[in-house]
Symmetry: C3
Subunit: 214 residues, 3 copies
Amino acid sequence: SAQLAGFMGDCTAVTPVLDLAGIFVFALSGALQGARKKFDVIGMAVLAFFTSVGGGVIRDLFIGVQPAAFRDAGYLLVPVAATVIAFFWHPQVERAMPGVLVFDAAGLGLFCAVGTAKALYYGLAPLHAVFLGVCTAVGGGVIRDILSGERPTLLYDRQLYAVPAMLGSTAMAVLYALDVRGFVATLSSAVLAFAFRILAMRYGWRAPLARGMN
Amino acid sequence: SAQLAGFMGDCTAVTPVLDLAGIFVFALSGALQGARKKFDVIGMAVLAFFTSVGGGVIRDLFIGVQPAAFRDAGYLLVPVAATVIAFFWHPQVERAMPGVLVFDAAGLGLFCAVGTAKALYYGLAPLHAVFLGVCTAVGGGVIRDILSGERPTLLYDRQLYAVPAMLGSTAMAVLYALDVRGFVATLSSAVLAFAFRILAMRYGWRAPLARGMN
Amino acid sequence: SAQLAGFMGDCTAVTPVLDLAGIFVFALSGALQGARKKFDVIGMAVLAFFTSVGGGVIRDLFIGVQPAAFRDAGYLLVPVAATVIAFFWHPQVERAMPGVLVFDAAGLGLFCAVGTAKALYYGLAPLHAVFLGVCTAVGGGVIRDILSGERPTLLYDRQLYAVPAMLGSTAMAVLYALDVRGFVATLSSAVLAFAFRILAMRYGWRAPLARGMN
């Protein structure tokens, strides 16, 4: 809505492009997982769609508003484009995957920041806004794994994936409380989450198992 | 609502009956899958309910309205009836299953048409309305498979199931844009999807895998 | 909301505490399942959260209101506390599990009563209110199992778990129709479901399979 765009401040000129870029990367990872599991083109498209916009859909349902994904053509057309690319060039994209992980980290950062901002805008408390920011960032991957018939990797692979999202969401909520909003807040929160995610991958930081397990 | 019924035009006299018939067939397929997997009567009832009304519930949540399934007694009682039938006569119903597939195709056609119409009525763009029409038609089966602990057949079995729904939904959106509404639009869109689905089964048409896979 | 609290009558002083107690027990069972499956601390927290508040979230989405879980800090902090306890002391909690089953039965009773009351308050018909009461009570466990990559035990383990919830929800709807509301109605419905659940466990009552199966 115009009001929400106003709240997002000067980020409106840049964020939609970044947003669709993040959706594209997540959609590509969904479509590729479909190809890897020998799903047909319909299965690839379903995974592309829900991996990329699923987190935002969950966030919006939890906020209690109509999911943005069903208001804007880009949220449907970008996953379709990612499906077409994965359909024809999946071997090439797979080879580029280590590079894609950097873009995935960028998408993670952006989604947690934007998700938190939207929840705050709709009047949720900071604690819940942080939670919904994390849901926005990691929800699509969980849905992708469930639709693929797998346990969600988020829950057991011990990678720090939700943790950087928590960090970025918390930064966004703190900046919001300090009246720093718009593009500056979004970008700095996203960069924080992105940087932490890259460091976690680079140095193999791991989430702990329950005490006494390994 | 009365307004929605008015929009649906002269279909109001016929569609509810067809709608409950479609729900009955989908519920039967859910309850039978429960029996086949040796689920107990509760499991059969849960599958019957979500297979039949799950697609519509998803559509309504994505539109942002209260799911119709929780307004009308038929949406609960018809799955209960299907569960009772499957509980006592599942071997007989299984033997009749090839015939049931024809009814399933009819349900698919009806649900995509009705789902698209409802989304258009609530002001969604044609592109999103078509998407939600397809969700209405195929969503229940996906939920059934996930609840059963299986990968959704929709994603990998290469049958044309979502594709006929897309065709019917698109027809509905085009007719709506041409101001052809009500029963005529619903029926012709549903018949189109139904006919395509029957032909796809008859001739074994298959959805493609990603290039180079087989 | 204040209005809803008013409707709940004199139960407002007691129910929130019971409610959080029920959430704690459900969250503990989720976090423990995470530890058992060697999920990391993130996976344990996700299971703790959705096991405990998932049923209520589903209920609220189906009613068409913003889920209460995103309004009240307790719904997030209690699952976090349960995760911390399960993280450090899971062997001790596992040993206490038979005792925990009694609390789980109490949570089941409370959730079905409260869930039914909320649906009735929002104007749903008794039939649907009973259905949503059962969803409130059993939905979290189904989500826990799906997130864990398992078939929902609710559907096949033949234990009477949904049936006591049905009984308690029905009692709540009947009392509501008789104008018995507030704490008395909540408590007596919850106790009925609880007692039936305990008896079902004690005597090994089982849900039937489809005729001819065993």
